[in-house]
Amino acid sequence: MSEGIDEPGRPVESAVGQGDLFAKFDPLIAMREGLLATGQEDPFNLVMERVLSPTRAVCNGRDTILLGTYNYMGMTFDPDVIEAGKAALDEFGSGTTGSRVLNGTYRGHRECEDALREFYAMDHAMVFSTGYQANLGIISTIAGKGDYIVLDIDSHASIWDGCKLGDAEVVPFRHNDVEAMDKRLGRIPAGAGKLVILEGVYSMLGDIAPLKEMVAVAKKHGAMVLVDEAHSMGFIGEHGRGVCEAAGVIGDCDFIIGTFSKSVGTVGGFCVSNHPKFEILRLVCRPYVFTASLPPSVVATAAASIRKLMHGSNKRAHLWENSKRLHGGLKALGFQLGTGNPQSAIVAVIMPDLERGAMMWEALLKEGLYVNLARPPATPANMTLLRCSLCAEHTAEEVETILGMFERAGKSVGII
């Protein structure tokens, strides 16, 4: 709608006078302008003109290795996945134009939920239109007035927004601090409902939660446990079910939240559970009811991908090799990393400040490497991070190329 802004005769000034609701964004606008005034390419306005594979694209005119996509298992160009999507487009059309509880549940949505139930070996699966909505919907619906939510302070925005949408009392504890969580659970008034919310992998630093200890503490206090395994699905645990599987506590997790927009390689979110009354959520969960369901092609690609991920152990092994090599190589070059050892497919490189972080991001882009620039307030402790997420389709040679790019960029910016 940008044309409207320039329309002649419109009183443009009145929109920026007193009472302008946009005044609250002024500090951010100033920070952005300051950053871009130095000639810096805009880190938050990158366009991928062509996507060549899960690991290569043409970005801002350059052939670029992708190291910031969360496309962990490289399923986006899998021939079977694409074939399933094309067939669904032909058979079922481009969209459902309806809610899951009205006209928006097609055969493909059921088949996708069947694939999830099999993948996690759980009784129930509910597919949402995004991962964000899965957290928003489940959290706000199951924790209501008078209930208590105890959660990690570094939780994802979708978890915080789910808390905000509901009416429960919200009690955070210091990141991955089992004792702090234990104490807070112990102080909740007797008889109140308790929901503990944890993540398997925390996406900013790529560290994992001590789920074995945390889930045991939650259960000791009679709390229900929700674990967001968005960044571990398909990769961590024997069957790729997540950190909770690797920690041997998946049986004590009441709800697992996940997404299709990472390892699965499309878009959508879900919750799986063994709770006997789980299906009632389809009628009471507003972010599930009051939105259109995913297009048939999306659920078809998701189902095909999930079924392939069940047999992805070789790819998982290669992804671990990539993660270990990149982590070890960056550490040896002298970069400061988010974790002392590789814990997931995310390797976070800590930048001294936003300015040099942005310079480093641009230097890498010019080398032909895309990583995520993460800045406050999304980051813990106000850090600026260059977040690298590896893909099972990165070759061992590509990881060496990436390390070379980091070395040259790091030296030119003066970080190493």
């Binding site: 208590y148 808390c163 009392e169 009690v171 807070r184 106000n382």
Partner: protein, 80 residues
């Protein structure tokens, strides 16, 4: 525990977080006068929770703007 004692105990807990050594009275605000960011708030609240063995949920924190509000909240939770 009376309100004055609650105030005194919280005042001791606040010292390490009050980096600029700002004067604190009933109307002192945490975000404005003391310049507490979200992480400082979390640590400060955790220290109070541990000291008094109480919970101050984020819902309650949202209602607390001034030092006086905080002392009232902790005093009320104590007597509850």
């Amino acid at each position: 525990m009376d309100r004055a004692e609650v105030d005194a105990r919280i005042r001791t807990l606040a010292e390490p977080f009050n980096k600029n050594g700002a004067e604190i009275d009933e109307d002192t605000t945490f975000a404005g006068d003391l310049e507490f960011d979200s992480l400082t708030v979390m640590d400060f609240v955790a220290a109070i929770e541990d000291e008094f063995d109480i919970i101050i949920s984020m819902n309650q924190q949202a209602e607390i703007e001034t030092w006086g509000n905080l002392v009232d909240t902790v005093s009320d939770t104590q007597s509850a």
